[in-house]
Every structure is written in C-alpha cells, then in structure tokens.
C-alpha cells in the first residue's frame, strides 16, 4: 500500500516537473517570438532612419517598442557598432552586452542570445540585421523563425556550394546597414514560471495529500482486515489452528473474518479428532504384541510397530522404506517367497496362518505365523498390504518337545503293540486249539453218538411211517366206501386220521431232535434270515393281534449258520412268544453285534458253555409282553417231551430241538422272564473269524 502511495506521489512530482518545464518553455518561446516580431518590425521600419541617421525617427520607433512590458531595452546600431539610438540600458546591462557586441555585429540573420547580468537579471536579446532594400533578402529570412538553421533552403545553399554561400554571406554582410537589438526581460517570465511552479507544487502536494489520505483510508478499511486475515492464514498454514482473527468490522470483510474463524474452528476440531483417532490407532498398533507391518504395492515397508522392531532387531528407521525381502528369510518355505506372498495376496485379498520365517538384523531366523490382507482405497486400487505376524518360536520349541516325547511314547507303544500282538497270536493259537478241540469233540459227537441215534431213529421212523401211510390211505379209501349217514363211522374214521397225523408229528420231532440231516453251514446276514422268517409267520401276528416291533439295525457281521435250521429256531421261538400273548401284545426283535460280557456267561441253560469272554457275537433278542414262564418250570423247558400245551398239539420237542440246533452252531440260547414282564429269548451267534 505504501508502495502505491509513493508511486502516486512520484508520478505527481514527475508530472509537475514536466508541467513546469513545459510551461517554462512555452513562456520562453512566446517571449522569443515576441522579440522576433518586434525586432523584425523595427528592422523593417528602421531602414530609413539608419540610412538617414535620423535619430529622432529611430527614437520614435524604439519608443513604441519599449512600451511593451516585456521589452527591457532596445538598441539600433550601425554596422560599425555605434549606437544610433538606445533605450532602457543601464550600466549592469552594458557590461553584459559588451561580451556579445562583437558577435552581434557580424550576424546576417536573426539571432537570440541569453544574457545574465552581474546583478543576476536575465534577458533574451533578439537581434536582427537591417539590410538596405536593394538587396534581396533570402526567402524566409524575414520569417518568424529565421534562427532555424535547419531550414531546407539554407541547407541546400550550404550544401550546393560553399563558395557561393561565402560570397553570398559576404554580400549580405556588406549590404547590412545596421542592427536592431531588443532585450526582453525574463522577469515577467520568471514570475510566471514561479507562479506555475507554485501551482504545480500545490497540485502535487494536493495529489500527494489526497493519495495519502486515500491510502490511509483504504488501508484502514480493507487492507488491515485483509492483512489480519492474511496473517491468520499464515498462522493456520503453520498449523496454529488456535489462532483467531480479532473482531474487525461489521462489513463483508468482517463476515469473511467470522467465517474464516468458524472455518478455522472446524478445521481445528476435525484436526483434533483426526489427531485423536490417529493417536488411538497408533496406540493400538504400538501396543500390539504381534508384529504388524504395512508394505506398499511395490513391496516396500512403510510402517512397522514396536513389536516388529523388537523382534527383528532393527530400528524403525532402518526398515522403513526398505524392500520386504529384508525381513523374510528365503530358506524358510521355498514356495512362500515375498514375491509369492505379494502375488497371492493381490490375487486373493487375504492370506491366513502361513508358517514362514523372519530374518533378523543379526541374521537369525524366527519362525512366525503370518497373516496378511490387502488394503484397498475406496476405488478398489491396492494401496498396500497389512501383514501381521506372530512369533511362534516358543510354540515350535514346545512342538519339538512334544514330538520328541511322542516319538518316545510311540516307541514304547510300538513295543507294547508288539507284545500285545504276540499275546494276541498266543491267544489266537489257544483259541484255535480250543476250537479244534471243540470241532473234534463235535465231530466225534456227531459221527458217533448222533449218527448212531440218527440211524436208529431213521430206521424206526421208516418202519413206523410206512404203517402210518398204509393206515391213512386205507382209512381214506374206506371213508369213501362207508355210509356217510352213520355219524359214528365218520367220527371213528376222523379219529384214526388224527391219530395218524399225531403219530407222524411225534416221529417228525424225534427225527429233528436227532438231526438226521447235517448242518448246511453258509455265511448269512442274520437280519435277512430274520426278515424271511417274519414273512412266514406274518399271519400269526395278525391273527393274534400281536404288534411286531423290529428295532433298527445296522450292518452287522455275517454269521455262519444253516439258514433253514435257524429259520426253524426263530419260527419256534417267535410262535412260542405269540402263543404266550393270547390277548395280543408286542413282540420286539432286536439284533446287535458286540463282545461277550461276563453277564452273558453267568446264566446258562445249555449243556455246554460255547461262548468265550470278549469274543465277537451277534445277539438276537425276541421279547414278548406275554404271561411269562412260571419260575418252577423254567429249568425244565429244554427237557425233551416236557410240554405245557397238554394235548393241544405240543410234542414237548420244540425247545429241546431249538436248543440242540443252537448248540450245533456252537452258539447259546437263553430264555428268561423279563423284569418288565413277558419273556426274552436270546440267541448268541459267533461271528465269522476274520
């Protein structure tokens, strides 16, 4: 602002100087012109007077001229320099004129001289030579500005011929008859100049004052507040957000300042929040026990936390802006090179629990679990990768210890297993020996006792059955021939027929009991056998209102059985149960594969104990909700010819035959009352030896 003020003042001063100069020049030119006009006029009129030396005439002439206020003096001289008439001269002037007299005597055209007297008075002396009329004065020589040396004509004359000019000048000089000299005082001009200068000064001063005032005013109204605002921005630029622009005014600038302050306040608040947030984040990162680092997309480390520097042994400044390779050990996992990790991360976004090694400043490797995720900006462009790593040295050490211990344990275990194997083999040998023994026993029993009994029974059966067949056929023939109207005859024939059937049933039972037909042993799934059996006896359930509950079963090991015989066993047991529920009830069939337990051996209704503790068996349970078995007969149910059915079709051979069949399979059959009521028939089948 001050600069502008100075500029205005400078320009004003320059303008006034120029103005004064210009004014001065105009005044001087006017003066000179006046002089020339007067001198020319005088010279023209003075010719006669000079030629005639009529001084009174000349005096009259100059008298008129001297009246002009600017004219200080007037002189008419002849060519010899004698003053013919003069007016207005004084000693001071004469002294000064002496210096130019000689020059003036030689002039052939108008001439202007500046004179400054001893007393300090200033004059212009305009002198013009006076020529006789006989001589042609050069054209323009009588012009107003004959002192102009550069006029074309004179120039030409000068250039065309020096000699001609000289001779002409000589001629002019010779034709001169005198000279008129008019002195013009510069006093008036000076006073005019002085006034002009004063005016200029006043104007300049006014301008300067006004400029100064305006500047001050402007500075007060606009510049100061703006400067304050500027200052404010500088403070804020430096980060001093607490700075406030003080109250300025109520105008627009004041409002600007207010909103500036508001903006600053907002800025300060948001910056404080940012700082707080950053401090919080920094604190979180710093406090993390795990290593955290951020790398940029070029794989250059940007940020690390204190855990990282602690583990790696670097100072923070030593690893930031360094390539990530610096902290990853190459020999850890050949696949997991920093390059691979970066590539995989950019492709998949995250990478979890990668076991790799860090490389510390001292060159040690530290096993870590590394997880990383890609950091993207809101446009999805990858900004960097955030990596988290956990030092698992301790864990590895513990793992190693565990592994070593495991190895030892395994060794111990191995020897145990070997011992167990040996024991098992021994047990197997024992078992085999036992089985062999049983087989032999069984074969002996089968071949000797049973075969004898069987052959006997077969013979007896054959001998009895043929007569029975004859009786049956005969009775049937007779029944057709005998009169039907005799009820007695019909009854007798029916009795005979029934007797034959009963006898046949008994014989059949005897044959079954002695097991004439040999076992046809094959591998069977006992569940399939049960299902087949249930199909055969289905109508019995319906007839007796018995609900069948077949419990779910899984695949169980196959058993080696004679399917038909076991079907016979199952039918027998199921029908017994159905018959034990004359008013209906539930019959449950349950199959499971398990090991023989102590409880399985404590109760035995067989002649032999076929089961061995711990061996694999398939157990079939048939449970009813019937009347149960009276305790006093429970130990007799397997005795041959013992029956509770009286004369109602029981032979007393059913359960003995069933028991015998199970025994032949070297299984076990138990029939017991259930605590809940009803009877449980349980059959144990040995599973196939694998």
């Amino acid at each position: 602002m001050i600069t502008i003020s100075f500029l205005i003042m400078g320009v004003a001063s320059l303008l006034s100087i120029f103005f004064i100069k210009h004014e001065t020049r105009i005044i001087h030119d006017d003066l000179k012109e006046l002089g020339l006009v007067l001198a020319n006029n005088l010279a023209f009129n003075a010719e006669y007077g000079i030629l005639t030396s009529n001084t009174s005439n000349l005096s009259n002439l100059i008298e008129g001229i001297i009246k002009q206020s600017q004219v200080a003096y007037c002189i008419i001289q002849d060519t010899n320099g004698n003053t013919l008439v003069s007016k207005g001269l004084n000693k001071d002037l004469l002294d000064s004129l002496d210096k130019i007299n000689s020059k003036i005597l030689k002039i052939i055209q108008s001439n202007v001289e500046y004179i400054e007297t001893q007393e300090g008075k200033q004059y212009y002396e305009v002198s013009i030579p006076v020529f006789s009329k006989q001589i042609d004065t050069p054209k323009g020589e009588m012009g107003l500005f004959e002192n102009d040396q550069d006029s074309d004509v004179s120039q030409k004359q000068l250039n065309s011929s020096g000699d001609a000019k000289l001779s002409r000048n000589e001629k002019l000089l010779n034709s001169r008859i005198g000279v008129v000299r008019i002195g013009l005082s510069l006093e008036v001009a000076s006073s005019l100049e002085k006034r002009g200068r004063q005016v200029a000064m006043i104007i300049t001063f006014t301008i300067v004052v006004v400029a100064g005032l305006i500047t001050t005013l402007l500075t007060g109204v606009a510049v100061v507040p703006i400067r304050k605002l500027l200052e404010g921005t500088q403070h804020i630029a430096k980060g001093e957000l607490d700075f406030k622009v003080s109250e300025i005014s109520n105008d627009e600038i004041g409002q600007l300042a207010e909103s500036f302050n508001r903006m600053t306040e907002d800025l300060r608040r948001s910056r404080n929040e940012l700082i707080k947030a950053k401090e919080y984040t920094d604190n979180v990162i710093r406090s993390m026990a795990d290593v955290l680092f951020v790398i940029d997309p070029n794989g250059v480390i940007r940020t690390v936390n204190s855990a990282a520097t602690k583990i790696l042994g670097y100072k923070e400044s030593e690893i930031t802006d360094k390539p990530i390779d610096m902290i990853f050990a190459e020999e850890g996992n050949i696949k997991a090179t920093p390059n691979w990790i970066t590539k995989r991360l950019t492709r998949e976004g995250v990478l979890n629990d990668l076991e790799i090694n860090f490389k510390t400043k001292t060159g040690n490797t530290i096993p870590i679990i590394f997880s990383g995720s890609v950091m993207r900006n809101k446009d999805g462009v990858i900004e960097g990768i955030v990596g988290i790593a956990k030092d698992i040295t301790e864990r590895k050490r513990a793992q190693l210890l565990i592994e070593q211990k495991n190895k030892k344990l395994e060794e111990v275990n191995q020897s145990l297993i070997e011992n167990e194997k040996k024991l098992k083999n021994m047990l197997l040998d024992l078992k085999k020996a036992h089985d062999d023994l049983q087989d032999t026993q069984f074969q002996l029993f089968q071949s000797e006792k049973l075969k004898v009994v069987g052959r006997l029974a077969s013979g007896v059966a054959h001998e009895v059955k043929n007569p029975l067949a004859i009786i049956l056929q005969g009775v049937q023939y007779l029944s057709k021939k005998l009169p039907k109207d005799n009820q007695n005859v019909v009854d007798v024939i029916n009795d005979i027929t029934n007797a034959v059937h009963r006898a046949d049933t008994v014989i059949k039972g005897v044959l079954d009991y002695s097991s004439l037909s040999e076992l046809k042993i094959e591998s069977h799934d006992i569940n399939n056998v049960i299902n087949m059996t249930l199909l055969l006896v289905k109508h019995e359930f319906n007839q007796n209102h018995v609900e069948l509950i077949r419990l779910p079963y899984q695949d169980i090991p196959k058993v080696k059985i004679d399917k038909n015989k076991i079907e016979q066993v199952l039918i027998n047991l199921i029908l017994n149960s159905v018959q034990a529920m004359p008013k209906g009830g539930k019959l449950t069939i349950k199959v499971e594969a398990r090991k023989v337990m102590v409880e399985d051996l404590t109760f035995n209704q067989m002649d032999d104990e076929n089961l061995i503790l711990g061996e694999s068996v398939v157990v079939v349970d048939i449970e009813d909700t019937g009347t149960g078995i009276p305790p006093e007969i429970l130990n007799k149910i397997f005795d041959p010819f013992f029956t509770t059915k009286g004369g109602k079709g029981g032979t007393g051979l059913g359960l003995p035959i069933v028991k015998n069949i199970v025994n032949l399979h070297r299984g076990k059959l138990t029939i017991q009352n259930r605590e809940e009521g009803g009877v449980r028939s349980r059959i144990y089948f040995k599973t196939e030896l694998t």
Binding site: E463, K465, L468, A469, L472, Y477, K480, D504, K508, D512
Partner: protein
C-alpha cells in the same frame, strides 16, 4: 379222455394197493404197482405210465438208483417221478411235498387229496 397212467413202485405193497384203490376210485387214473425197484424199468416199458411214484428206500434198489436207470432209458427219462419217503425231513412241514435237490419229494404219510394235487401239478409241468 384216456385215464392217466400212474406206476407205483414201493416194497410196502399194502400202501401201494391203498393208494392204487384211492386213485382209481376217482375214475381218472389207471394204476399199476410194483414192489421192487428192479422191476420198475420193465414196468415202464410195458405200461408206458404218465407218472411214476417211487419209494426212496427199498430192499433191492433205492429210488435214487431207479431214477438213474430211468435217466439212461429213452422211454423212461421223460417220465416225471414223485419220490415217496418215510424219511422225515424238515420239509415234512409241507404236506404236498417239495423239490429237494431237483427231485420232487413227498413224505409219508400223505393224505390222498394232497397226493392227487401233487400228481396233477407234476403232470401239468411235464
């Protein structure tokens, strides 16, 4: 319509006779009886039966041996056989007899109705 010819071979002659009487009584069968297995083939050649009822256990020749002779004979080999046996098996539970090892077996004693059913079935399947 001709009567169906049935040959019964059984050493138990009274049984053979009773069956013969029962069958002929129906009026649909012509029955010849033999009491020895060795006579069976000759009887087949003479009588040309539609079906043979063969006892399993006989003094001179078992039913199985008779069957073997039949299989080698051009005439006998196509004639259906019902084995009648006193040796009871579990299959006895089926009154009408059943197939055992490719043979049709009926256990003694058998009622005449069941026997006729079985005969008719064998003849149908011929």
């Amino acid at each position: 319509m001709d009567k169906k010819k049935i040959l019964i071979v059984d050493d138990e002659e009274s049984l053979s006779r009773a069956i013969k009487l029962n069958l002929e009584d129906t009026g649909e069968y012509e029955v010849r009886t033999e009491n020895r297995g060795s006579k069976a083939l000759g009887a087949v050649h003479e009588f040309l039966p539609d079906l043979v009822i063969l006892d399993v256990i006989m003094p001179d020749m078992d039913g199985a041996d008779v069957e073997k002779l039949f299989e080698k004979d051009q005439i006998a080999k196509n004639i259906p056989i019902i084995f009648l046996t006193a040796i009871a098996t579990k299959d006895d539970t089926k009154d009408r007899g059943t197939m055992i090892g490719g043979r049709f077996v009926i256990a003694k004693p058998i009622s005449i109705d069941k026997l006729i059913e079985s005969i008719e079935e064998r003849l149908r399947l011929r």
